[in-house]
């Protein structure tokens, strides 16, 4: 059953308590419930269904995103798009689905002593792909915002392909990021969570896991606070869950902060947070693009994913709805309004930096701020600046090859690119916090897995190094970023890890 709040204080004693209902939490809930365990899930976000998804940015972002769409690094230099709902990020992501790349698993084996191989994970990915209806997009089903990337890359001889998406009977409305209005997107709310509920799991929405009580090597309880729907404000009602096993699955920012709030600060908790930091350019075409309609993300190029000269990056599209576009577009006043007036003819193309693969990289850090919420810092480095500039130039080249009229950078003082000769200006433009727009929609790391307790928070089976009935099962355990959109990797890893959780639950 899915409970929305509670009008009384509760004490529950299930086999397993899961904090968070995104892909990691949903998968564990499904696997464990179906194996006969009693499961309680605490989710700070609300439970929302298609009837509530009105395709309006003004409604969707405050309702379905962390901090009401307001999450960012402490200095506001990176805007953080992260879901907050029953189903977590799967409710609002753009449906792009990839298995963890083989070379990433190989890097983890070599650098972190992890046992994961493509062969070990294959059956888990196959099951996930079947359950979520993941299938490859046909070129003819891409929208112009994506097709320009495909066509431009082909003209340049660069690697490019359509992506796979977790949808069934998709109308390609373009509103995945605001909650699918027709239940085409196979979010956790429509798949693994109902599976869990049908097997007896109890999900408590609008309930934030505040703290894990623990002693020695045992977690004793999870304390949850019920919230007024859509807010961070506590109702005063609480739940005390006393399970045999605790699974933390709040995602790469909320999971480390829950551990830190609970005094579980041994190891690099909150360190090595990876974001796939995103830079974007707007490409203006003479014809209509209408990037607000159509599958938002259906093409990707990994041509520059493994660069020798610096961090790799990959290229995808972002949907072009007015609010999100206006935040990213540079400048203010008349120049901004003039660009916004051309919204139907703009392509939004993004380059996502693949962070975490250089030994000198620290990534971001999550700490606890006043009031108990997360504070995220992610200092920019020269390695990032080099990658950002390379990413911007690659995007510009794609659209120049494809005949765009003008390509505009998102620097504070934007650069207008109309020919190859203009690209050098990208190298000259000043970079720095809030000198150009940077986003993230993929949060990873912060509770990294590994065999060395000094360098990791959980062991290779995702069990906490110190507290033996505590697991972390979400994107926070990734030792690096992935170089692909992370949802399917989280599902697959959680499916694999569910056997370890089940053993611990007896």
């Amino acid at each position: 059953m899915i409970h929305q709040g509670s009008d009384k204080d509760l004490v529950l004693k299930p086999d397993v308590c899961i904090a968070g209902s995104g892909p990691g939490g949903a998968m564990i809930a499904s696997r464990l419930s179906r194996a006969g365990a009693s499961v309680v899930v605490l989710e700070e976000g609300g439970y929302h269904t298609k009837e509530e998804f009105d395709m309006q940015e003004a409604t969707a972002y405050p309702r379905l995103y962390q901090d009401r769409g307001n999450r960012a690094t402490a200095d506001l230099s990176i805007q953080v798009l992260q879901g907050r709902a029953v189903g977590g990020g799967t409710v609002v992501n753009w449906t792009t689905s990839y298995r963890t790349p083989d070379h990433v698993l190989e890097h983890w084996r070599r650098a972190d002593g992890l046992p994961l191989t493509p062969e070990i994970l294959r059956p888990h990915f196959e099951e996930v792909e079947q359950r979520l209806g993941i299938s490859k997009v046909q070129y003819d089903d891409t929208n112009p915002n994506n097709r320009t990337i495909y066509d431009g890359c082909k003209k340049l001889g660069w690697q490019v392909d359509t992506t796979s998406r977790n949808v069934r009977q998709c109308l390609r409305t373009g509103y995945c990021g605001m909650g699918c209005p027709v239940d085409a997107k196979q979010s956790a709310t429509l798949t693994y969570l109902p599976d869990a509920v049908n097997a007896g799991a109890e999900i408590y929405a609008d309930c934030r896991a505040e703290k894990i009580e623990w002693q020695g090597k045992r977690a004793r309880a999870v304390i949850g606070a019920f919230l007024k729907p859509g807010t961070q404000e506590a109702t005063g009602r609480t739940v005390r869950v006393e399970p045999r096993v605790v699974v933390v699955a709040g995602g790469a920012i909320n999971s480390p902060v829950l551990l830190l709030r609970s005094g579980l600060d041994s190891g690099p908790v909150g360190k090595n947070t990876w974001l796939h930091p995103v830079v974007a350019l707007g490409a203006f075409y003479d014809e209509k693009i209408e990037g607000f309609y159509g599958a938002p993300q259906s093409v990707a190029s990994h041509h520059f994913a493994r660069r020798e000269e610096g961090a790799g990056f990959f290229i995808e599209a972002a949907p072009v709805h007015p609010m999100l576009a206006s935040i990213a577009m540079p400048g203010f006043g008349a120049p901004l309004r003039a660009k916004m007036a051309m919204l139907p003819s703009v392509c939004a193309t993004i380059a996502l930096m693949i962070d975490g693969f250089d030994a000198g990289e620290n990534g971001g850090t999550v700490t606890v701020r006043d009031g108990g919420g997360p504070k995220l810092d992610y200092p920019f480095t020269d390695r990032m600046y080099e990658c950002f500039r390379a990413g911007m130039k690659a995007i510009a080249r794609i659209h120049l090859a494809n005949g765009a009229r003008e390509i505009v950078s998102f620097h504070a003082e934007p650069i207008s690119i109309r020919s190859e000769g203009d690209l050098a200006r990208i190298d000259q433009a000043p970079l720095g916090p809030n000198r150009f727009a940077v986003f993230t929609a993929h949060q990873m790391g912060g509770c990294r897995m590994g065999s060395d307790p000094a360098r990791s928070v959980v062991n290779p089976q995702l069990r906490h190094h110190q507290v033996e009935n505590l697991f972390v099962v979400d994107g926070s355990v990734f030792p690096t970023s992935l170089g692909v959109n992370p949802m399917e990797s989280i599902y697959g890893l959680a499916s694999w890890a569910s056997a370890h959780v089940r053993t611990a639950a007896g």
Partner: protein
């Protein structure tokens, strides 16, 4: 879309210096040019002075070169919408944002940064644009952060309002398509 954050002003050296500057200004030079609050309604986050500063900022952030027929920031009462949006902010963030607004409208600080000896709310349109631009491109990270906080929230509140869709050529969500398909699938 964002508010000020994390005790940022008080936790940085530059921020502390800026706040000291703001506090040292004679009261007369701190006086904000007040605006009328539509309908005289109760404010939840802003003081009347802060509301007036935000309204003036929104007017310039969202200014058009010449009127297109789209609603103005004032017509949509972007400051009033910001007041509602910001009301649930945690205490630390509230304090931060209020300090930011006080600094932004500070005449002495304007002078120190090479601007006119007036509060932002008393400046001409051209002076206000130059003032905003000086924050946008400042060498001080704290000012760029402040600019982003104001710009993002003004834009988010304005461009997410259906009344502005026509001005950007956005037809809006495809409700008919969704309704027809849901009807068939039922």
């Amino acid at each position: 879309m964002t508010g000020s954050r994390r005790g940022l002003l008080k936790k940085t050296l530059a921020g502390a210096a800026l706040l000291a500057t703001a506090g040292a200004v004679p009261v007369a030079l701190r006086r904000t040019k007040l605006r009328e609050i539509p309908g005289g309604r109760t404010l939840h986050f802003f003081t009347p002075a802060e509301y007036s500063i935000w309204a003036a900022v929104a007017d310039r952030i969202l200014a058009e070169e010449k009127p297109s027929g789209a609603p103005t920031a004032s017509q949509l009462d972007i400051a009033g919408r910001a007041d509602i949006f910001l009301a649930p902010l945690p205490d630390a963030d509230r304090k931060d944002l209020k300090q930011l607004l006080a600094l932004f409208d500070n005449a002495l600080f304007s002078v120190l940064r090479g601007g006119p000896p007036r509060t932002f709310t008393s400046m001409s349109d051209e002076e206000q644009d130059a003032h905003i631009r000086s924050w946008q491109t400042s060498r001080l990270a704290i000012q760029r952060t402040g600019y982003q906080a104001m710009k993002r929230l003004c834009c988010a509140l304005y461009f997410s309002a259906p009344e502005t869709y026509a001005a950007v050529g956005y037809p809006g969500p495809p409700y008919d398509l969704v309704r027809s398909v849901l009807g068939v699938r039922r």
